[in-house]
Each structure stands twice: as C-alpha cells, then as structure tokens.
C-alpha cells in the first residue's frame, strides 16, 4: 500500500438549476477512485453549495495511482426518482507522484457533462502521501517525469539522452461494444473517456518502466496518440525520448557531464544486427549497400583510444579547397563510429526531439520517411455475436483477453516502419533519426501508418556516460565550424545515396554541402540564416475510386508514391519561389478518405548562409515554334522572376555576393535533388523507392506541356504572402526575429467545407483545397491584425476527411508580437544573434561546460578561418559570463519560494490568466518549474444541434470549453501556463438530419510556472523569502 490519496470537496458555484419548481439544486458529490466511492452530504437548495467535506482517503497502490484518474461526479439529489447527474471532473493525479512537480491540486474545476458541456464549477483539493517503495519488481514507474516539450526543458540539464521509448496498448472501443446499443449516449461517452484516461495512464506507466530500465528519469518529447479504429478497437500509442535530466537549481549543477551520478549505464553487447528486413526488399537494397560501404567495420568502432590516435595523426592541411572534403572524412568516420557505438545498442536510434543542446547535432542528412498501408481486421470475437444470456457477463469480464494478441500486431506494424526509417537513415550515412514522429490516418478499415524524421549524425557525448571520450569530444567539437556544421553532408561524396549536387560550404568553404536541405527539426540555434523565414505549404488532392478492403488498400498504395512525388515537387518549387534553400519542421500529412487522398506538407523555409543560392525557376513550352505560345511562356517566366525578386525583398534575403574564385570550384548549374527518401509499403510488403531527383532532367525547368502543368504554375503564383507586419512559420521560432514582446495569443481554428459532388476532378479538388487553406490563413491574419507586428509560430495544420464530400482543416498556432524597431535591424551578425539567444535561453546553454576542458586541449594545428574563430569564442565565452549573472539572479527563485503556494483560491477571487502556447517557451518570461503533463481527452455530443447554434456553435463552444478545462487544471496545479500545447485530435462528426453531432478532442501540453523576466529582476534584488507566488503572476493582462 504505497500511497494515500486524499480528496476534499470544498464548494460548488454556478450550478445549473435542476429543480424547475424552486429554480434551485440539491447537490451532492461522489468521489471515486478505483473501486472506492465516497459521498458528500446533500447541500439543499443552492446553486452555490458549500460542502466543506472531510478529507476522503483512498489507500491505493502506486500502480493504480498512475493508471486511474480521480473521478468526481456532481449529482442532484432527488427523493422520489433517480438522482440526476450534473456532470463530472476527471483529475489526473500523476503530477502529484513526483517530488519536483506539484504538491497539491487545488482549485475550481469546470463540471463537465458530455451532453450539456460545462455546468458550473467545483472546488476540490487533492493530495497524495507516497510511501517509499522497496519492491524491486514493482510495476509502477512513479517519479519518471514526462514532458511534451521536444527539447530539453528549460530548467533542466541533460546528463544523458538515452533514446527512443515507445509503447502501445489496445482495447475494444466502448462505442462499438454491444452494450452501447442499450445505454445512453452519456454513459457511452463517459465509458469512452474513462477508458482512454485509464489507457493513457497505463501507457505512461509502461513507458516510465522502460525509462527506468534504461536508467533514465524522464521522457522528453512525449507524444501520445489515439487511433480510433472503429470496430477493430482503440489503440493508444506513445513515443518519446528517454533522458536523464538534472534540475538546474543551483550553480553547482553545471559541472561537466563526467560528474553525473548515473554511471551504471547498461552495457549491452552490441552484436544485435537489426533483424534482416524481410519486408523491404528489391529497390531499397542498393541503398543499404551503400550505407554499409561507408560505415567502417564494426570491430573498430568501440575502441576510442585508437580512434584518438587516429585523430591526432590526421593531417589537417585543409585550407585548400580541394582537400577539404577529404579532411572531413576521417573526422566524420570517427564521429560516426563513436556515435554508432552508442547508438547501435539501441534497436531504434530515434529521437523525438526537434531542438537540441548545442553541439549535439553534428550533421543532418535529410528527411527520411516511411508509410505503410494496412488493413484493420475485425476482431473475431465470439461474444460479439450474441447479446443474450451468458455471453453478456462473459464478455464484460473477459473482453480484454480477446485483444491480448492485438498489441503485438500493431507493434509489428510499427516495428516494420521503424526499421525502414532506420535503413533510410543509414543510406544517408546517418546513425540516428531526430525530430522523429509517427502518425496514422484511418478511413473505414484502411489505415496508413506514417513515420518521418531527419537522418542525422549526433555527438555521442550525450548518448552515454562519456567520461572516457570526454576530451575527444571536446576536440571534435572545436573542429566544427560554427553555424554551418550541421549542413555538411554526412554521407560519402563518392557513394552518394542519390544523385545529389554538392558545393563547398558557403560559410566555412571547407566541407561539402547539398544545395537544398529538408529537415523535420527546428532550426538549430547556431545556424546562420539570412533574412527571415516563412511558412511553405504544399497541398494536394487525388481522387480515388471507392473500393473495399484489399482493393482499396492496393489503390491507396499505388497512389501514395505519386502523391509524395508531387508534394515534394511543389515544396521544392515554392521554396525556390521564395528564394530560399532549406526547409525546417517539415511535416507531410497524407490523409485517406472514402474517395480521395489528401496531402498537406508544411514547413518553414529559410535561407541558410552555408548553402548555395537557389537558382530560379525556368519554364519551357513543348511547342517552341508557336509565337503566341512563346509569348505566353515568357510572360509567365517574367511573373515568376518578379515573384522571386519580390519575395527576396520581403524576406530580406540578401546574401553576400560570392565570387567563384573563392569557392575554388565552378558553381555548377543548380539542380534539384531530394533529401527525401521514403517508401510505401502495403500489407503485402511491397516496397517502392522513389527517385525524386527527376532523373537527369534539370528540375528547375517546369515543362508546360498540358493544362495540368499550367495549373501547377498558376497555383504556384496564387499563394499570397501574408499582409505586411505578419510573418508565419511552423517551427518554434521565426528565423530572423528575436525580439519578442510578451503578448501571445494561442488559437484553434477549424473549417469544414463541402465539395459539390458533381464532376469532381483532381484540378477542382486541388483548387478547393488550396483555397480552403489560403482563406483560412487570410482569416487568421485579419483576426489577429491588432497584434501587428506579429508572427504566427508553430502553425500546425491538420487535415481530415470526415465524410465523402467533407474536408476538415484544423489549425492551431500562436501569434506572438515583436518589437518592430529592433526587427528592422536585419543585418544582425551571427554573434549578436547568438548573444541574444544566450540571454533568453541561458539556462539551456548552462548545460555546456564548454570552457572547462578547452585549456587542457592541445591548440589547433590549423585553426579555422579567423572570422569563425571569433564567432566561436564569443559563442562560448560571452554567454558564459552572462550566464553566471543570470543564474545568480535566478537562484532565489528556487524551490523554496514555490513551496508555500497560496492556499486554495477563495470563492470571490477572480480567475487568474493561464497562458497556452504550442511553443516550449514563453516570450519575455522564464519557466521556473514544470508541474507535469496535461493529457486530456473529451467527448461532446448533442442531440439539439440547431439549438446550440449549428455545427459552428457546437464546436466553438466545445473548443472554448476544452481550453477552459485545460486552464483550470493548470491553475489547480499552481501553474500559470501550458507550453508545448498540442491538439492532437479533433474528430468531428455530424448528422444534421437527426440534429446530432459528436466531437472528440485530445489535447496535451506541459503545465508550468513562469515568471516574467522583469519581475524576476525585481525578485532577485529581494531576499529569497520574497513572496512571489505563481498566482500573482497570473494576473497580467493579455489580449
């Protein structure tokens, strides 16, 4: 009995009138945890009852504490008939289970009913007393911290980044159980909500166990998703990155990694060659061969001492451009081996992180993705057949067992995809995949599983307890040129996995870079960017015949390669049109519907200084002799050239002119090539590889040979840039803007359009879809016009096809204002930029004991170019000084202050502001504490759709309610913001004829306490006992 859960019901307010006669309510509360239920007294005739109950105590296992939600039901007492339920509150008590997070949950929670929405509020206090658990074989994983944030959380330091953790659980969906035919919609919805809550708890606990096994103490970049597979069940799956984190509470915490307490890193014999891929055969093999060719023999890899000598012997004559490429070789190889040794212990060297501690990311190969079409089999469940007699109880007792083999099936599916991703990464000469994510799209019994990430070479320092390699790493790091290192190709120039075009890095002039770089990660902090970035989207629809089962799956698999190809071409063209050369945060979503497939790719385009200037777009006609046609073509060409020029001006892209001599090799004519390696596989395990480089053709040339191509060119030009004062990106921060002011506005916007079913063509469909997205963006710009100058960050589009002719687009983003005056100084040098970053992100930089070893290192035989040396030194040195100052300031804000959190808010205090943002930070503020993850699932249903304002009124109210419930939970934990907020699912179904609608929403994020930087300074001058309670900070005004 390792835990005691204590709950007190204080009061209610704004309850609905349940007794029409008196216009009042006789309310009481049931508090349920596991199988134990307590009740409060009935508070007669009041809409604002004051129960002031005793402490209800539950004595429970910590396993249950992790799995079960606390369930609070408010009811209206009725003497003569059954008591009416007013609504429920589910409280996830997980945040109380680890010591650093919240100590008490206390506050007003909206009382939620799946049919009526929010009906009043209830004030609840929850505490947990945990006893030390001495059981070594425990099933719980209390104490493992979870973060949705896809970077190392701000007030922590990563000691070790262990790597990928994944888990999934499967259950039958209550909505499809036989009992659903006889129970009320409310009961059905509540069963579903409760089940998903239980499954999430279980999943989190299981992931936690895996993390403990890896000797980690936290999961970062935790992403949990639901697959509503309909009759075949409900899958809850999660991925994340296991880490060992240290809290940065005192200056003592930033000692080098060597001092980390966890030395007992598990030694796994690395004989495990990944299972031979039975599924991926044929076309992908050559790639794999190449891969192996440049990862040197394995016997060599673990011997770091010999590598060391190797390094010192390496001739570094590298100023001459010719030998530069070779020079990079040994380093790369060395690095690769080291990383490999750390990574090969893992089945999947994947990281869900999108932003990394400086130095972690060495090289980026490009985007790797894999998709697979699967058929969801109906569960052959004997109990499904009969509703009568024995089967009923049999089924209720036992239905879990029917699914016992289900997780394995799903696990195998995902394992297959992950293997593919891994092999793609290898083909790119990379040992790891970063910015990794997985998703599904389900329509009837067809399911597309997708996974994507960015192949990368990582610095092994963080991957294991690196005491031995410490010095070596330092040295390696010193050799990495600032701001361009990650762009350098990780693969072998002579054995390129695909036809690519390389030039010498425009920054350091020593190593090879590709001409275009696609990634799924955020822009690295130290990357040198010219001008600003912008949101780039590729949108595509493909009609598909309606079909059943196998035929349907085959049809989809056949379409997928074409979709990918076109999406990719569109992205590339739009990138060129913007005059940029790299994409970050790339997310390609393929959605399957009854009669169509939709592809939506979003990314943030930037101009990386290290990469060559992109060439223009040439268009060519097929019939060169026709005069008027020629004229038309040249007209189009002019338009395109004008657009490029305009965009360059708009995004302030003015790279310094480089003469060819400096580069030393002719700049060859640009050619498109793809960093995108992907494959589709269908259930039959057939794999196709795409050559996205357009063969030998110069890909900048768009051939206008039919109306289709014409449309394409037109659609390129129809994308309207945002109105002046607006910028948008789908990454964490906007490249080129770094002077954020504190005003933020997170929002969700949903649009559903109905296509006219008559003569739908691919073109018409494309146009509709394009207009839908463009209009949505225009609406956003208009709505947020009062925030100008501002930037829409983390713009996240989700497409779904709820019915035959319906397209639903959901957008969540945050608008952040910035200081225009400073923003105009676009000519900020790299150093300045890094300084600015340092002051805002200093805690992140704290993790790096850069200077500590540098003295002991032998000086460089051949220092890199001077400018880089300068920038490198300022990178490490100046922020370090700043660092110390800020940390001193920050120290009074440690644990102590927040322990005396204010008592439960009194009944007449107004509601504190809780900020929500999809970003991992809050501009102008410092996150001082993470309180735990918020992971909530809600269902709302109505049978009076018209009365609730139609579909728009219904969904508008529901989303507002979801926000309210998230805020209430955060406030009750003592927090004043949610960071890394994401709406993972918004499934909307309507039946206007029956006046009904249903919606399911799943959201998550990290509850945090933040302090304004201005307040922080004030506090720091006071005594440590200064009472700066989080509740005070909640009061500031946002618009």
């Amino acid at each position: 009995m390792p835990g005691k859960l204590k709950v007190k019901i204080v009061a209610g307010r704004h309850l609905p009138v349940m007794d029409r006669a008196s216009d009042l309510t006789d309310a009481f509360v049931e508090v349920k945890f596991g199988n134990t239920t307590f009740k409060t007294d009935v508070y007669l005739k009041s809409l604002n009852p004051q129960w002031n109950s005793e402490w209800f105590k539950f004595e429970v296992d910590d396993e249950d504490l992790q799995d079960e939600p606390l369930q609070i039901t408010v009811l209206d007492h009725d003497t003569y008939s059954a008591n009416d339920a007013i609504g429920k509150v589910y409280i996830d008590i997980d945040p109380l289970l680890y010591s650093e997070a919240a100590t008490v949950i206390s506050g007003w929670f909206p009382i939620y009913d799946t049919i009526h929405g929010i009906r009043g509020e209830i004030n609840v206090v929850v505490k947990v007393d945990l006893f030390n658990d001495l059981n070594r074989f425990r099933q719980s994983s209390c104490g493992v911290k979870f973060f949705c944030t896809t970077s190392i959380p701000k007030c922590y330091r990563a000691v070790i980044i262990h790597g990928f953790v994944e888990e999934l659980v499967v259950n039958e969906d209550p909505e499809y159980q036989w009992i659903d035919r006889i129970r009320t919609p409310r009961a059905s919805n509540e069963a579903r909500q409760r089940l998903i809550s239980l499954m999430s708890g279980e999943l989190q606990r299981k992931i936690g166990l895996k993390v403990l096994e890896m000797r980690g103490n936290a999961v970062v970049g935790y992403l949990q998703c639901f697959d509503l597979e309909g009759e075949s069940g409900l899958v809850v799956r999660a991925i994340g990155t296991a880490c060992t984190l240290d809290k940065l509470s005192s200056p003592a915490a930033f000692l080098p990694a060597c001092n980390s307490p966890s030395k007992e890193m598990k030694e796994i014999p690395f004989n495990e060659d990944p299972n031979p891929n039975t599924h991926s055969s044929g076309p992908s093999t050559p790639l794999k061969n190449q891969t192996y060719s440049f990862s040197p023999s394995k016997s060599y890899s673990r011997q770091s001492s010999s590598s060391d000598t190797d390094l010192s012997l390496t001739p570094k004559t590298g100023m001459g451009s010719g030998s530069a490429g070779k020079e990079g070789g040994p380093f790369k190889a060395l690095l690769r081996q080291q990383t490999q040794s750390a990574l090969e212990q893992r089945e999947f060297p994947f990281f869900t992180l999108t932003a990394f501690p400086p130095g972690f990311l060495v090289h980026v190969g490009g985007v790797v993705s894999a998709r697979s079409v699967k058929l969801l089999d109906r569960i052959h469940n004997p109990a499904f057949v009969g509703i009568m007699g024995n089967t009923r109880s049999y089924k209720l007792l036992d239905w879990n067992s029917f699914n016992s083999d289900e997780p394995e099936t799903r696990d195998a599916w995902w394992a297959e995809i992950r293997q593919e991703i891994k092999s793609h990464a290898k083909a790119l000469g990379c040992h790891a995949v970063v910015g990794y994510s997985e998703s599904t799209s389900i329509c009837e019994e067809v399911c597309i599983l997708s996974a994507s990430g960015t192949a990368a070479v990582l610095n092994p320092r963080f991957l294991q307890d690196g005491t031995v390699e410490g010095c070596l790493e330092q040295r390696l790091e010193e050799n990495l040129p600032a701001g361009c290192g990650f762009c350098h190709i990780p693969y072998d120039e002579l054995n390129m996995p695909f036809p690519a075009h390389l030039t010498y890095c425009y920054n350091c002039r020593k190593q090879k870079v590709p001409d275009v770089l696609f990634t799924t990660i955020d822009l690295p902090i130290d990357a040198t960017v010219i001008g600003k970035g912008c949101l780039i989207q590729a949108r595509l629809c493909r009609l598909k015949k309606k079909a059943q089962a196998e035929a349907n799956a085959t049809a989809i698999s056949n379409l997928l390669p074409f979709m990918e190809y076109e999406v990719h071409t569109q992205l590339m063209n739009k990138l060129k049109l913007k005059g940029m050369n790299a994409l970050f945060g790339l997310r390609i979503q393929i959605t399957v519907g009854e009669n169509m497939l939709m592809g939506l790719a979003s990314a943030t385009g930037v101009y990386l200084a290290a990469l060559p200037t992109p060439g223009g777009i040439q268009i060519a006609g097929k019939t060169p002799n026709d005069g008027s046609y020629e004229q038309h073509i040249s007209h189009m060409q002019k338009k395109i050239n004008d657009t490029i020029a305009k965009n360059k001006e708009l995004y302030e892209i003015n790279p310094p002119e480089v003469s060819e001599e400096i580069i030393g090799s002719p700049i060859p004519e640009p050619r498109q090539r793809s960093r995108l390696l992907r494959s589709q596989s269908e259930s039959s395990d057939e794999v196709t590889e795409l050559d996205l480089s357009h063969g030998k053709k110069d890909a900048f040339v768009l051939e206008i040979d039919d109306t289709d191509a014409m449309e394409d060119v037109h659609s390129l030009l129809t994308d309207v840039p945002p109105p002046s004062g607006f910028y948008s990106c789908n990454t964490e921060i906007m490249p080129g803007i770094n002077n954020w002011t504190s005003e933020i506005q997170m929002f969700t916007s949903v649009r559903v359009i109905r296509l006219s079913s008559l003569n739908l063509t691919n073109q018409a469909l494309n146009k509709n879809f394009n207009d839908l997205c463009e209009n949505l963006l225009k609406s956003l710009y208009f709505k947020l016009r009062s925030m100008i100058p501002c930037c829409l960050c983390h713009v996240n589009f989700t497409v779904s096809l709820p019915e035959d002719e319906l397209i639903q687009v959901t957008v969540t983003a945050v608008a952040i204002t910035f200081d225009k005056n400073q923003a105009l100084q676009t000519t900020k040098t790299h150093v300045e930029k890094s300084l600015q970053r340092a002051s805002t992100d200093n805690e992140e930089l704290l993790q790096f004991p850069l200077e500590l070893c540098s003295d002991s290192l032998p000086s460089h035989p051949f220092p890199p170019a001077k400018e880089h040396l300068e920038s490198a030194s300022s990178n490490s040195g100046i922020p370090a000084a700043q660092r110390a100052v800020t940390v001193e300031k920050a120290s009074p804000m440690g644990e102590g202050n927040f322990r005396n959190r204010s008592a439960p808010p009194c009944a007449n205090s107004t509601v504190g502001v809780v900020k929500m943002t999809p970003l991992s930070f809050i501009p102008g503020a410092k996150i001082t504490k993470y309180l735990g993850i918020i992971n909530m699932f809600f269902i709302r249903e109505t049978t009076s759709l018209r009365e609730e304002g139609g579909v728009s009124g219904f969904l508008h109210a529901f989303i507002a309610e979801v926000f309210a419930m998230v805020r209430a939970h955060v406030a009750a934990l003592g927090g004043n913001a949610v960071v890394s907020y994401i709406m993972k699912q918004c499934v909307f179904m309507e039946n206007p004829n029956k006046n009904q609608a249903q919606c399911l929403i799943n959201v998550s994020g990290d509850a945090v306490v933040f302090v304004r930087e201005s307040e922080l300074e004030v506090v720091s001058t006071q005594q440590p006992t200064a009472n700066c309670q989080p509740s005070c900070t909640g009061g500031e005004v946002t618009t």
């Binding site: 839908l772 709505k783 304002g949 309210a964």
Partner: protein, 359 residues
Amino acid sequence: MTSELDIFVGNTTLIDEDVYRLWLDGYSVSDAVALRVRSGILEQTGATAAVLQSDTMDHYRTFHMLERLLHAPPKLLHQLIFQIPPSRQALLIERWGYYAFDEAFVREVLGKKLSKGTKKDLDDISTKTGITLKSCRRQFDNFKRVFKVVEEMRGSLVDNIQQHFLLSDRLARDYAAIVFFANNRFETGKKKLQYLSFGDFAFCAELMIQNWTLGAVDSQVDDMDVDLDKEFLQDLKELKMLVADKDLLDLHKSLVCTALRGKLGVFSEMEANFKNLSRGLVNVAAKLTHNKDVRDLFVDLVEKFVEPCRSDHWPLNDVRLFLNQYSASVHSLDGFRHQALWDRYMGTLRGCLLRLYHD
C-alpha cells in the same frame, strides 16, 4: 464549395469593439458585414468580403455565448470558459455598453410596468425610435432583469445595482431611476411631458429616493429605496391647511411678496398667481395618498406649476428665488406646525421643479 463550419477560438477571447457595438445595436450578421464594408475596413486591411463575413459570424457567436454571462456580470468575472482580461470585462459590461441604453428608448418605457404587455409594444417603439427591435429587447430585458434582482433587496438601490451588475456609479444611478420609476409607475409619456429628458426624470428620481422613500428614514427595511414612504404620503394631507386656511394663505403670500419685492422681474405676475401656484403645489402633496395621483405627479407638477410660470415667461432665476422664498417663509407661519414635513416635501419638490422648468 460551401463552408459547413468555420470557427476561431482563442485562448484569450478576441473581442472586436466595433463588431460588439454592431451586435448590441441589434444588426444581423449580413447588415453588420455591410456596415463594416462601408467603414472601409476592406481597403485598410486588404481583406476580402468572405473573410469579413467569417470574422463577423465568429464574433457574433462569441457574443451570443457571452450574453448568458452578461446577464449576471459577476459570473463573467468568475467563469472559466472565456479568458477575458479584467480590463476588457469592464468594457464589455459598461463602456462598450451591454448595459448602456438609448435615451430615445428609455423615454418610451420610463415609468411603464416592465411586463410582457410592455414588451409587446417594443415593435412600435422600434419603429418610432429607429432602434432595432433586437436592441430594444436587450435594453428592455436589462431593465427588467435589474428590476427583478434589486426589487426586494435591502440596502441602497444604487449600491445594490452596482454590486450585482458591476456598473459604474453613473450608470447605476440611471438604472436606479429606471427601477424607481417602473416601480412607482410615474407617468412620463403624456404629450405635455415630452419636452422632458431622461436626465430630468433621473434627477428627480434621485432626489425622491433620497428624501421620500423608506430608506430616507430607516436604512434597515426591505424595498427601502424603491417604495415611497407611505406614512409620509399620508402625513402630506396635513399641508392642506396652507391653502385651506385663508389667513395662513394670505400671510404666506404677504411674507413671500415682501421678501421678493424688487428682486423679481415677474413680480406682478407672481403676486397675481401666488394663490393658484401655492394651491397647486399643496394639492399635489395632499393627493399623493392615492396611487393614481402618485403616478400623475409629473403631469400635475407641469400643469400646476411649470406651465403657468412658463406662460408668464418667468426666468429660471425668478423661479428659483420664488421657490426658495416660498419654502422658507413657511417657517415664519406661527400657526403651522408641520415644518419638518414641509421641508421634506418642499426640499425635494423645489429641486425637481427647478430641473423641470425649461422649454
């Protein structure tokens, strides 16, 4: 391609002041869009009409959801569904005016029973005043809601309104006047009262609440500020002797005339009319025992005092001098014992008459 669903939900509820006003004024979405287009917003922002339509719909939906909360403003402060910074909450209620009302509208319903019957007349009022029916309904419902809440409440009327509806002092006073008039059903719609503004009536209401209600003598009773002090109204009959007793009337006249001789431009007219005016004022007091006559208070005051003076072209200052002297002289009437009663009556009436005396 038709839009089935189109929503925008911000973590902080977005409220566009202009659209809020249009909504309060009762315009339909399409009218509001048309008005916004006319305001030139499309040119300023480069938006399209479709964008404007979607934006307006969104705001209207938000306002519709907020309306339930605006009915009980303290709820707006404590509710969790809409995150609205406190400064904006105040704007919604007061300055941008959910509880603001149109002068033209309030004049139409002032003193009328806030019942379904009156609500049916809103159509006519809307036609007459040019205020949209929706807006009329909102204003009427506001009056009624405030009335219902504070009707039977203990304590100061203005304070109660302020506390329960979070209105500013100024607006709370106006609502107090509306509630007071509705409760006592004062007639304000007669043709001869048309020249009076809501401000005139509100001014009188405030004086009457301060001096003539139960609350003026005892602050611990229910309905204290809403109902007139019945005992006081009964006692007013005693004043009748001022005009019924001929000696007293003559003495009163001579005292006033002596004091005002040479100070009044309209002295002769005053002297000639003194008895009529005095009879008028005292009879109004004596009649106040009957509910019907209470309702006609303002009609009587205008008929019996304002109109006669106005027809003789009394300047306002002369009216003031006269009323002051008229009230004060009673203290010198030895035979008259109801000095306190007279002051309570005349003090308020003097203030009211001076406010009512204009063209």
